[in-house]
Symmetry: C2
Subunit: 396 residues, 2 copies
């Protein structure tokens, strides 16, 4: 008789951590797919207030394969808000955030497969000097290979422009992407829609049909593919974080004072947005259409046995001053600077050279997607909103 | 020139932790009262999923004086969901939760004044054998003295009945009490209303008027008193957690199987409810009427300079299946088994003997508050809901 399993504390920790999920499946959610949860590979872009809490929520849902990416070090002001760091991480100049976060996850749960990547995401509006171009291209390629080797990408950085390249790569690779973003007292959580043209879907569909059963590793791999490749009824694609923008992302920090560069938010926001982001992922993982699941904004299905987790919204927006929360739905834009066909096609044709050009010159993205033309046509209008007022103040 | 302040990492940590709040005050919330935040004393009943996250949120808001009360030890299944514990806390039978939580808070922020109390809260429906009576009375008295020496009490335990005694004591002492409670996929966050008859309000009002300025310790103490004693326009009291019940709290765990005793909830709930509970506290601390602030459910005041934090609801209820959140308002009940005048008066008259009787015999609370009579009058009705059905199945 082998008692090792009951004696080794690390093994005990694994079975204890599963206990919550098994109880959940037994009592309330028979359809809970613990295999897909423990197999899905998540890439977290940003290991700050949102990244730390998202990683914790993933572990609480039984998700074990977590890669954290960040380029910063743990600062003295971080531990009280960034839930994976302690005072000790701040000493001697501060540990690298991604490294400290992965260590912290292992201290919480030794069986987690946590990796750390120290990388700054290249951003439009932050031009790259010629002598830096090779390094930035390597960073772009590393980011692309990381996204390719994960099933899900969380966008948890603190600027708009740092979300652009990951959004584009996710659209190209047709990966599940989830954004969480904070204002001073409001939050946005959004799952990005699929990319405009999935890669090699025929090949993957063939794989799906060949081994469509649960329980073994192949079947789980197949399920991961399904997440992003069921295209028979894609219909109108859901939008990404940039779909409602009419300008390309640009540098939002350089011309701001130090205090404006700091992320000043009410502390309650990050745990709420992080929790909702992970609940949204669990919904996608359990939806038969995965990334192509239609966006829902309200429903009469609650309590129905075929949708035990509830609705699967596209966006959730919340406000602390009103203690309110809304679900919203937005479709992809033909002029999107990150996920439109024009942008993804050009990225496929020119590769990272395209990315470098877009980074150095955001108007290039606006030209490519027709936003420049749109803005010109808007500017060519002249509307007198109120004739009386206009007359009173006119000097022409 | 004294460089100690800039060289000592612990002092650096204090000023860095304040930086977020100072930026917040400077940029968006000039009325943010950092003094009251750093002075308010919070008692957290329960150091589980909710207690850990509430403690973290308090620290993120600059609240430094935190006492954690729990009677359990850290179990192997806890660290992935209870954000102050690590695998190491589970070894050798598990550290006491309150102790491990306080240590963890100090590892995050060395300047926190964190205390731990290892105590099981006496509960109605869990009868006390005669030989245990003295110990239970001591526990009741310890709980009472803890509540008396804190400004705010968070009710974060996992059974209904463990919230009864703290609710009663808070009503008697007129302390700010905030409840967070989780279902499988829904949450409730509620601030309890004031008690039925404040203690010695004349004396405290006198204190308030004598030193009503900010900046010194006396003024802060005064503000704390104001939190619970401004009574000039109390109007209708807000309800407590028990105000809408029509039965006394009873033992909800003994007759359940092991799996039913475990708290099975979707992991996203606890961080959301904890964050909302602390945001609610910050709202109370900044409201001129403190505990007597009327409950709001929606408002046009957003953006108004006199209410920069937004509305102050009485209850917030949320549902993950619908990703929805509502604010609700409920007034105190004359028949409440925890905060009504009948119960608080009897508690004042008989002291802990009353508590012991209520614990051993919940029907005593129902007799006292008129619930027994109410139930009898309801049962005396006989309604035939559907005459046809009734006729078809009748054998009388």
């Amino acid at each position: 008789m082998n008692l090792a399993a009951s004696m080794d504390p690390k093994r005990l920790a694994v079975s204890a951590a599963d206990l919550n999920l098994k109880l959940m499946r037994w009592r309330t959610l028979p359809s809970l797919d613990i295999n897909i949860l423990s197999s899905v590979k998540c890439l977290l872009l940003g290991a700050g207030t949102l990244g730390c809490q998202v990683a914790r929520m993933l572990m609480a849902w039984g998700i074990r394969r977590i890669t954290l990416l960040d380029s910063g070090r743990v600062a003295m002001s971080n531990p009280v808000r960034q839930s994976l760091y302690t005072f000790e991480d701040c000493l001697d100049g501060g540990e690298l955030k991604a490294v400290a976060a992965a260590k912290s996850l292992k201290r919480i749960f030794p069986a987690v497969e946590a990796e750390s990547i120290n990388l700054a995401i290249p951003m439009p509006g932050h031009p790259v000097p010629a002598q830096e171009a090779d390094n930035v291209l390597k960073d772009c390629e590393l980011l692309q290979s990381l996204i390719a080797s994960h099933d899900v990408v969380f966008l948890l950085t603190d600027t708009r422009e740092s979300r652009w390249l990951p959004t584009l790569i996710c659209a190209n690779e047709n990966k599940v992407a989830i954004t969480a973003a904070l204002g001073f007292d409001s939050y946005l959580v959004m799952r990005h829609g699929s990319g405009p043209r999935p890669v090699s879907s025929d090949m993957l569909d063939a794989t799906c049909n060949a081994s469509d059963k649960t329980g073994d590793v192949n079947a789980i791999v197949t399920q991961m593919h399904k997440l992003s490749t069921k295209n028979e009824d894609r219909g109108q694609r859901l939008g990404c974080y940039f779909c409602s923008d009419v300008v390309a992302p640009i540098d939002s920090t350089s011309n701001r004072t130090l205090d404006q560069q700091c992320t000043v938010t009410r502390p309650g926001l990050a745990p709420i947005a992080s929790s909702l982001a992970v609940e949204l992922l669990v919904g996608i993982l359990h939806h038969p259409k995965g990334i192509n699941a239609p966006g829902e904004i309200s429903s009469s299905i609650v309590g129905s046995s075929d949708r035990p987790l509830g609705i699967l919204p596209h966006q959730i927006r919340g406000s602390l001053p009103q203690f309110s929360q809304l679900t919203l739905l937005g479709y992809s834009s033909k002029s999107c600077t990150a996920c439109s066909d024009a942008v993804v096609s050009e990225f496929r044709r020119k590769g990272m050279e395209f990315v470098l050009q877009a980074i150095n010159q955001p108007s290039y993205l606006e030209d490519l997607t027709g936003l420049t033309e749109l803005m010109e046509s808007v500017n060519s209008f002249r509307v007198d909103w109120d004739e009386d007022d206009s007359d009173a103040n006119a000097d022409d």
